[in-house]
Assembly symmetry: C2
Homo-oligomer: 217 residues x 2
């Protein structure tokens, strides 16, 4: 049985791997997990000894099949609990991360499957991210970042590249929500900002924000 900390590392490596498929660096993990590189190295050795990652000094790491399986279990738990918190306990999408970070490590053979059934098998969490099923399978939606849309093109806000509370609060303030239909009115070539229109209002979106919005066209 893995520790809280080991599970966290596996989950984190999985997430970074989505963007860095051929080797996740020690520093990248340290940054995401808010710890020191030396602590990461220690843990990588431990996970490698358990055959959950492939680790060669200075080379970055990759999850093994087993490591990936465990990472997906943790992600499944995290996303189901987030769904529970929002749908049943009336939390906002920007309030659930910290609590789900703890709940995702509760150990039980049956708990998460029972929770999933209670929630009636949701397929996406409150941030639009897909929830892996019992076998680790999830619905992968093809999206592009808002930055890639042309003037006049339309799409739907599907999910986020950055789900930090800070970004979620920004979207709250700007009245942008998942499933909103978006049309690009204009693109400013100088700073890559995007002028968009939703059903209810118009908005100016900076490059930084635009690249964190995943659009289904």
């Amino acid at each position: 049985m893995l520790s809280f900390s080991e599970e966290n590392y596996l989950k984190t490596i999985y997430h970074i791997e989505q963007f860095q498929p051929d080797g996740v660096s020690t520093n990248a993990i340290a940054k995401k997990i808010q710890t020191k590189a030396s602590s990461v190295t220690d843990m990588l050795k431990k996970l490698a000894a358990k055959q959950l990652i492939i680790y060669e000094k200075y080379q970055g790491v990759q999850l093994t099949k087993e490591g990936k399986k465990i990472a997906l279990k943790v992600i499944r738990r995290h996303r189901l609990w987030e769904y529970f918190l929002v749908k049943k306990l009336n939390y906002r999408w920007d309030e659930v991360h910290e609590i789900a970070e703890q709940l995702e490590h509760i150990k039980s053979k049956t708990l998460i499957d029972n929770l999933e059934e209670f929630l009636r098998f949701p397929k996406f969490d409150p941030h639009g991210d897909p929830i892996p099923d019992k076998n680790g399978k999830m619905i992968l939606t093809k999206t592009i970042s808002l930055l890639e849309l042309k003037v006049g093109q339309k799409g739907v806000l599907d999910s986020l590249k950055d789900s930090s509370d800070a970004f979620l609060k920004y979207l709250n303030k700007k009245n942008l929500a998942l499933r909103d239909r978006i049309k690009v009115i204009d693109i400013e070539p100088y700073d890559n900002s995007v002028h968009i229109e939703t059903k209810t209002h118009q908005l100016l979106i900076s490059k930084k924000v635009a690249e964190n919005l995943n659009i289904k066209v």
Copy 2:
């Protein structure tokens, strides 16, 4: 903020204090928490330094006001989560303890109050134990053990002195549930066993079992 382990000690001391109001012994704690007396001593020093217990070498401990407050918070969380597991996730009363032991240590300012509201402010957990409210107040029901009833006397099974999974499974097997009306048919003076009758069947209850059944007369 207290650790998982510190919270567990406070909760355990609170429970033992119900039966040993003037000083909880190191060994009693060690037994309940499944650890060694020396480990308990270490922790007692720590809790005393934090002013959560009154501890004098060799004298046993007592919770301070603050220690009791925290213990009741942990018990509140435990019982609300047990209620959730049974009422929402369809667990049986003998399956929830281990999971609630973990859930009770989730840290959040708002989680447990939101859960309580979602569950519509239950006053008793699945084992008949009262759930402390936000302020630590709970409904204390006057009960006596089945052993104290006279022949011919009636009462209702209200709660249990022992809520171990083993005892709960025993009650399942014997078809005894909370709220069952019970009448004492006969008492065997030789071994203090009790012959009882419920709405549906008659049963012979050993002394050991009888003293763990709390009856509201």
